[in-house]
Amino acid sequence: MQKLGDFKLPHFFNYPPYFTLQPVKDTRQKQVQLWKELILDYCRTQKIFVIGLEDDFPLFSNSAIERSLSHEARDIFLSGLVSDGRAEWMDKGHKKCLILWLRIQDWADCILRFVKDNGLEDSVMTVEEIRSGIESRGTELHGMDRTVLMRALRMLEQKGKLAMFKGSSADDEGVKFSA
């Protein structure tokens, strides 16, 4: 079994035709499905939030069998994730894709759990602290994408679970959790 770092690749990754878009509908559906699952799985384990279509993303080519995905194939697989609500295009040209292996709602739940587990109700934290502070170490929040984090926080803010305020500099925003 081939591995990428500590990630175990599925069997189909070594089967050349999966790197060519299949013309028959049923076969194509299955192909897209397998790729979507693989991309999500990989991003989740490797904590990857953004995939650039032109980048050397490790899943887009397999040197062992000398195959790589065409631009069209990459676009189709990621668009599949977008229509499932598991990804979003970051630009109109489909050059960068934000992968939501957890939906924004799930991230929001994650944050609430984190607040509860650490007794942070009524405390203040900066956004940076949530992403890279000692408290979040070992949780899913650690090292998460800033855009995704901000959107989850805004969602919570709308629900009245916290309040956000600007710090002294622009990139230093604070959060006050409510009980």
Binding site: H11, F12, Y15, P16, P17, T20, V24, T27, K30, S68
Partner: protein, 245 residues
């Protein structure tokens, strides 16, 4: 004076016939009784044997297939009925029905990957993985038996031979001789190209392309345009895609 046929003569003849018949019936009865007795002995012996080796039959696939062979030789089918004494004795009927259900399960689960045609060997591997908890090993022979039982459902489960390999078909696709020859050819490297088909089988372009297109539409083949020689390859998951390691 010539003696005319009398009633006495006729009576004697009839009496003789009766005597013969009686003797004959006796002989036949003795023979049947003997036969019945032998059969009963045989049956009880077979039962004894089955009872004694119940565990071996259930657990040891080689032993099981030998047992089946023996039963087939004497004209007994332990799978014929689930209600028979074999089922009570061995639960062997259940074993194959269970296997049958699991085979259907696997065939359905892998259908979108292989188009409903699966290598018997791979089916067997998947079956063993699935049954890991049961810890009764399963051979290809068992799979074949279970599949033969599935036929009564009329669901089109069938085992076809392609070259040396056996494939299990779970979709009603009719494969003609051309398709079989291509599958046979693909077993070597897992794929074929139009040129190879034309060359090796001496077919016209039309015939080769037509057969390959059908296989593609049935979901039995997948195309691969990624090789550097630029020639389209047709891969056949049923003979080359391994989901078990």
């Amino acid at each position: 004076m010539r003696r005319r046929p009398g009633i006495g003569g006729l009576q004697t003849a009839a009496a003789t016939r009766d005597q013969y018949r009686l003797v004959g019936e006796n002989v036949a009865r003795i023979k049947t009784d003997l036969m019945k007795e032998q059969l009963a002995t045989f049956r009880s012996q077979l039962e004894d044997f089955a009872r004694k080796h119940k565990n071996d039959i259930r657990k040891n696939p080689t032993f099981r297939s030998q047992f089946h062979e023996m039963c087939a030789k004497v004209g007994v089918d332990p799978l014929a009925s689930n209600k028979g004494f074999w089922a009570e004795l061995l639960g062997i009927g259940d074993f194959y029905y269970e296997l049958g259900v699991q085979i259907v399960d696997i065939c359905l689960a892998t259908r979108s990957l292989n188009g409903g045609l699966i290598n018997l060997q791979e089916l067997c591997n998947l079956l063993c993985q699935k049954r890991k908890a049961a810890r009764e090993s399963v051979t290809e022979d068992d799979c074949l038996r279970a599949i033969s039982k599935l036929k009564v459902l009329g669901s089109g489960f069938e085992v076809i031979s392609v070259g040396k390999k056996k494939l299990v078909r779970s979709v009603p696709t009719e494969l003609n001789k051309d398709h079989n020859e291509i599958l046979d050819m693909a077993q070597g490297q897992g794929y074929v190209t139009v040129e190879e088909v034309k060359r090796r089988l001496s077919w016209s372009s039309g015939r080769a392309i037509d057969a390959l297109e059908t296989l593609l539409e049935e979901g039995l083949a997948m195309i691969d345009d990624g090789h550097k020689d630029g020639k389209r390859r047709y891969w056949f998951p049923c003979v080359s895609f391994v989901t078990t390691s």
